[in-house]
Each structure stands twice: as C-alpha cells, then as structure tokens.
Point group: C3
Amino acid sequence: MGRLPPTPATIILSFRFDFLHIMKSYRKELWFNVPTRVAFINITSQIDECLDESGVREGLVLINAMHITASVFINDDEPGLHHDYDAWLEKLAPHAPVSQYRHNVGEDNADAHLKRQIMGREVVVAVTRSSSR
Amino acid sequence: MGRLPPTPATIILSFRFDFLHIMKSYRKELWFNVPTRVAFINITSQIDECLDESGVREGLVLINAMHITASVFINDDEPGLHHDYDAWLEKLAPHAPVSQYRHNVGEDNADAHLKRQIMGREVVVAVTRSSSR
Amino acid sequence: MGRLPPTPATIILSFRFDFLHIMKSYRKELWFNVPTRVAFINITSQIDECLDESGVREGLVLINAMHITASVFINDDEPGLHHDYDAWLEKLAPHAPVSQYRHNVGEDNADAHLKRQIMGREVVVAVTRSSSR
C-alpha cells in the first residue's frame, strides 16, 4: 500500500524553482527633513539599501515623491548643476510675486507645484541581477 | 494499493498559496469627452474602481494618456491651481500665433504636444494591500 | 503498493498553467551613434523587435535613457514637430551663453541636462497580447 510522501509540495516546488519565477514585492517609505524651501537630496544609497533589503534580483523599482511639490529624478549630483536647476526652475515658474497665482490663497507654494511638473514625480528603474541601472 | 488523491494540484497550490505569488494583470481603457480645447479631469475615482475590479492587492498601476496631446499627472485637484497650470503652460508654450510652429500645417495643436511634455505622459503608482498610494 | 507517478511536477504545472502566470523578464540595451548635438531618433521598431524577442505577451515595458542628457518620450514622428521641440527647448533652456551655467566648467552641456528634464527620462508602456499600445 502506497501513500503520498510526507512533503510533496516542498519537493515539487523546489525541484521546479528555476521554471517558476516567484514574484516578490517590497515597499518602503523614506522620510526627509528639508530645512530650506528648495533642496536637492541624493537618495541613491537609500535606494541601494532598499534593493538589498528587498532581495529582488530582477524587476522594476518605482521611486516616487509622495508630496505633490516634490520630485524624484535622475541626474548628476553636481552642485553647479543643482544651482542651474534651481535658477532655471525659478525663471520658468517664479515664486514671486506670490499673488500672481490663484492657488496662493492661504498658501504660497503654487510655484512648487509647477516646478514639480517639470522635474517629474517618479522614476522607474530596471533591476538586473541585483544592481539597479 | 495506493493511488494519487483525486485533486493533488489543488491541494498543493492552495497549501502553498502564501509562497506562491500568482501574478495577475488587468487592463482597462477609460474614455472622456472633453468639450473644451484644454481641460483638467479628475480620474481618481475611475482608477480606484479599476483597482477594485482588478483584484490586485500588491503591485504597480500604470495610468497613461493614449493621445499624444494629453497628460496624466498627479497633483492637487484645486481650481486655482488648474487655472495656474493653464496660464503657465500657455506662457511656456503659447497656442498663438499658430503659424509659429512648423507642425501646424493643416493642424493648430503644436502647442498641445509641447504642453504635454511638461505635464508628462503617465504615472506609475504603487498598490499596497489594495489601496493605491 | 503504489508509488508516485514518474513526473508529477510536470503534470501538475502543465495542468494548471492557465492558473499560474509565470513571470518573465527581458532586458536589452540599444546603442545609437548621434552625429549632431541634438537629434530625434525613432526607436519604435527596435522596441517592437525587443518585445518579439522577449516573448512577453502581457505586462509592462520600461524604455529609459541611460545618459542623463538624453530622453525617451512618446510623440508624433513628424519633422515639423521635431523642429518645434528643438526650437522650444532652446528657448526654455538656451545652450548659449555657455558661461551662464555653473555646471559648465570643462563642459558645455548644462542646457542638455535641463532640456532632458522637460522631455522626460523614460516611458512605461502596457503590453497586451503582445502588441504594445
């Protein structure tokens, strides 16, 4: 008389592991204190840390701003360029006069909403063999 | 004499369900009639509805414009801000004179192509435990 | 005396194939020689080719620029519009004078970093039944 071996599920799944891409997901919120009205913060090492924690080796990583006056973007971390972005965004969407914007009733950040649209909300990055490119 | 129980596949898959993330995908097209040249339409409730219909509890949702003179973006649904976006986009990429744009041969929407590049084509949003953030 | 049939893993997985969405990923780098300072290159057919090679029938495709002064975007492939984008980007983020940008120490491409932020870094496109939309 035969019976099913004690752990068939384990045997079958591990045997076929390479056929079966088990999909994971990992989520983390990063919080930043920003002492100035505008700031550029390099978060690359925090993202690398998230990738390590996630154990994801192949897939996509979405990095997005939660606030609607903040942006996530990928470009040079170079102070001259950050100055240029700051001055340029200020030229395209000036902060003042605050009263030029209808949004600025009890607020003064209408320009920040506009600036964010230029710089973008998110980046989606390919993860391959656990190095993000 | 033993034999394999009648529904081994079902037993194994349901037993190991928590190890096995079964991947789904869901697609829906949303259509809008827009009576003016420029309009801002809040589609948040339609997106929430799609998420419910999809049954996806963890993953990513891509919301993109199909037309190349339309944008999908995330920001305040506030009429003052919409007025500010409208006026600002008109300043950065004016509609008139129509003849300033080489694209405007038999068309008059070159400015709309430019405005869309500022506002963006898509958003990719994280879905966690069935609430989109 | 019974025993487990010789290939139960195969039987179970193939039987349940429609329940089990096996996730694939595919990655390819495309390289372009660009003889001018600014160029618009239509890469749609290369993307279609990648989709065919990947065998992906349902999912997402991320197409992103690797260089930080390049953009991937979706819009009309029309020479008049390309001229308009070129002239408009030059108006919003002029190349010259090169010295107006602090980034331009030993470089002259600060404007290209700014232009790229307007046009965007990537597109994420839905793949359905092996046709990208």
